[in-house]
Amino acid sequence: MDKLSFRLDVYEGPLDLLMQLISKNKVNIIDIPIASITDQYFEALALMKGLDLEISSEFLVMASELLYIKSRMLLPKVKDDDEQEDPRADLVRRLLAYQRYKSVSQFLKEREFSSRFMYFKLPDNIEPQFIPYTGAYSLHDLMKAFEDILERSARCAPPPRKTFEGIVRREKVSVREKVHTVSEMIRRRGKVRFGELFDKCCGRPEMIATFLALLELVKLHRILVDYDKAENSFVLIHAKSGDNSDEAAVAWNY
């Protein structure tokens, strides 16, 4: 038999090495010439060792298994003993099973990039349904919401004047002005959350002016107040049927 050349780095394990030897020798897997295959197996290990390749313990376990089978094969056979199994039987079973998975590996390898040319998409963020709240609300609740914001603003350290240099045009806040601002904001957006009205306010005076403007607009039916349970917040809705006269009409009171 020719000296075999081995692809040293590709043995997945002792079974893989054995399969390669069997295939090189063109022998039947269920009728392995144990003696010669065992010799070649040891040659391969020696070669691996010579090349400083790490030989994992599994290769050594298989080596001893092969020697055991070889020795049993040399024992005289007891005639007419059907119970006696071929000493190679267990190894052959393992090799056959391994061979089948090997062929499945090949099948998978060919299909490995089946979806490479397809791109998938991440799930969308799907927002929960908005359920408008139509229950009753009281002016007290509205006042309470405003108080919360005022209370919070009290903790707000005033920003240094310097921060706003150049953008400050006015130092006063009038309710009249706020009526305009608030009504415009609600008219343009259709619906505004209560808290949003105060986002831009700094200091109690501006907040109070904003709130008074809001009350005025409610009184004039220019806006409607509803409560959005999901958001746990009042929402202010533009009232199409409301009185659309000039803000001046309401601001004179102040």
Binding site: K121, I126, P128, C156, K172, V173, E177, M185, G203, I208
Partner: protein, 184 residues
């Protein structure tokens, strides 16, 4: 318009997830801008005419593919248990402040709100509604935040110009107490 252009645009927009600038779309499809616009117009009318599941929207010079609004009830059904929570009150406040003042530092946001806004800013960034964009040329080089295209998409805005106008004179200023008495 080459025959495959609508398909190319669909697949690119699908894979991108986000909005894709129309100029960039033209480059990718190796087509001119007019052809891209034409193909997009074709897709929009095709989706509508055949009641398809998609719709194509234009945001800020970019296109994005999304589900057709009329099928939203079905789409919501798939969300089922993994329904996402809406934005918190705090997050909405921060978002509005950033939207109107961008680019803006967290410090400014906190001044306006009067409370620490770390968590809300982080949350908004996580959800892709705001993002970092450079640093302010000031001591400490604080990070500047801007709103994203996702913000526009989320709130149904075509551009930031769609935000309701705020009077410029609603100013973050400490009031003179004496003055106040008169005004209110």
């Amino acid at each position: 318009m080459k025959q495959q252009l609508p398909g190319i645009i669909e697949s690119v927009l699908f894979a991108a997830g986000d909005a894709v600038d129309m100029q960039r779309l033209a480059e990718i499809a190796q087509a001119d801008l007019d052809s891209v616009k034409e193909a997009v117009a074709f897709l929009i009318s095709d989706y509508a005419a055949n009641k398809r599941g998609f719709s194509l929207i234009e945001i800020d010079g970019a296109y994005q593919i999304c589900t057709r609004p009329e099928y939203y009830p079905y789409v919501q059904a798939i969300a089922g248990a993994r329904r996402q929570q809406g934005l918190s009150e705090a997050a909405l406040e921060v978002l509005s402040i950033i939207a109107y003042n961008q680019p803006v530092t967290k410090n400014t946001v906190e001044h306006v709100r009067g409370v620490n806004s770390d968590w809300a800013v982080t949350k908004l960034a996580e959800r892709g509604l705001v993002e970092e964009k450079g640093r302010l040329d000031a001591p400490g080089k604080p990070i500047l935040y801007v709103t994203t295209q996702e913000f526009l998409r989320c709130f149904g805005l075509i551009s930031l110009n769609d935000l309701p106008d705020f009077d410029a004179d609603v100013v973050l200023e400490q009031q003179d107490p004496a003055q106040m008495q008169i005004d209110i």
